[in-house]
Symmetry: C2
Subunit: 323 residues, 2 copies
Amino acid sequence: MGNLSNGILKADIKSAAKLMRKIEEEDIKAIEELKLLYSHTGHSHVIGITGLPGSGKSSLIDALIENFRNNNKTVGVIAVDPTSPFTGGSILGDRIRMQNHSNDEGVFIKSLPTKGWRGGISKVTSRMITVMDAMGKDIILVETAGVGQTEVEIKKLVHTTIVVLVGGLGDSIQAIKAGILEIADIFVINKADKIDAEELETDIYNLLSMSSYTENNNSRKWLPQICLTESVNRKGIDKLIREISMHENYSKSTGGFAQYFKYKSNNDLKEIIVDYLTNLIFKELENDELYKKLLDDLMDNKNDPYSIAEEILNHFLKFKIKN
Amino acid sequence: MGNLSNGILKADIKSAAKLMRKIEEEDIKAIEELKLLYSHTGHSHVIGITGLPGSGKSSLIDALIENFRNNNKTVGVIAVDPTSPFTGGSILGDRIRMQNHSNDEGVFIKSLPTKGWRGGISKVTSRMITVMDAMGKDIILVETAGVGQTEVEIKKLVHTTIVVLVGGLGDSIQAIKAGILEIADIFVINKADKIDAEELETDIYNLLSMSSYTENNNSRKWLPQICLTESVNRKGIDKLIREISMHENYSKSTGGFAQYFKYKSNNDLKEIIVDYLTNLIFKELENDELYKKLLDDLMDNKNDPYSIAEEILNHFLKFKIKN
């Protein structure tokens, strides 16, 4: 027990990869390792990068890795985006570009398929962050696809959220209106050489000025900045790195950084409690005669799932569920 | 008790809207109504419509509604797409277009924000399907955003999945590779007047011919068809409607339609069991002194969430969690 943790605390990539596999497989042994790692975490700066497919997140991440490495910072990447080259969703060109970093020991990339997680993507991502944090990564980049629920969930797991947009898609503003505006600490307008980039910049400024950001005159409040980049040509990356660093400092000085770790711990606790409970009851149910009978009733549409759930819980927990 | 159900079984829109609100608010009273409705469900043809923002899902849904209504079929729409006009994520033009149906009693539209669901979007969507099914809707359309986890989860809740693509986005194929191919029963290439539509059609044909669809020579196996549409101009919709009908017949003749309902019931059962258990234990924990102490340890990083979870469960359930 704890062999993997020992390796991980020494930044050993093989040990980390092994534990990550156990986490993905929901192997109960992973929990024992995570227990040993937890007190060594809370140090990495966790950065979420979200945006629609086609916004160039992968080349932006590539440019960020390059810059962080030039400044001797170690980097972990967790890709939960099905269209990311990291997760195998991309065309060959992107994949080759990413191999820039494949021989660099200071970069660790983990891709997560976005389907098939019993407990939701956020649980697995949170555990992957714990592993990379324990490895001593200075920076952890979490890439998400930027439509729907995933990136709002992931937002809770990161210190700094970067929303990547491109001009000309037309739908960017729709996506912003749909809630991405609320989660952004930094906006990146990528492919800034496109003619529509400036128009998009104006749109975001207008949206920001209408939003709650300006309602509060508290000078401590973070106002999201807009960075124009051409990540493929490495343009605008220095300014973005400065913005990221400023947000980190802001987050540390206002207590947000520490608060985040408490939030994450609390969330991890709740998820593992629900996990344990769920495993426990369904294991017990497997061989239970009453459950089999009730399940038959359900399959024959003789009874509804809600009534059956109450019967089962009364049967097992020996007390009435209170409404 | 059961007032809303009575209304819903008579297709009353106000009763349905009220129950849906209770479902969204996780009001426990919703469960009592759902119990009464459940045995009246399993009749609607549930159709998932997924695709990237900008693929024109909303105008396609608009055209489908029009067609179904012309054939005297009643329609429910559940939109879980943050960029959908139904969920308020769209520009004004789309919103006006949708108002075509706002005075039609045979159409019921429910939009779901994609964030803030404690139990995940699939639980809420499943319950909304139950309500619309009990209302007697012939067709239920479920719109999702088509990147990441949501639409894979939603796939399990529908009989027929339509994947909407457009030429020229370049990223469509990436999205297909990323798993959308596996979930499609019907492909729609929308905005087929765009020059790249035929290229995309060829790409999909090639991908399909490489996939497992053709490996099985069983004549009962469904081969996904590709429909070219211009939904704004109502072109190609008739063919799409025929495909949908063919898939419904296929699904009914092969038992998939009935199997789906059993799967849904089983899923609903598991979700409500986990819900009840979770509510139960966190309610108990709220006032528990040991929990408060352990939570303080967690916040001070003196103990890890996994060890704390075990302590709590041992304390409450009075027996050891087995690894």
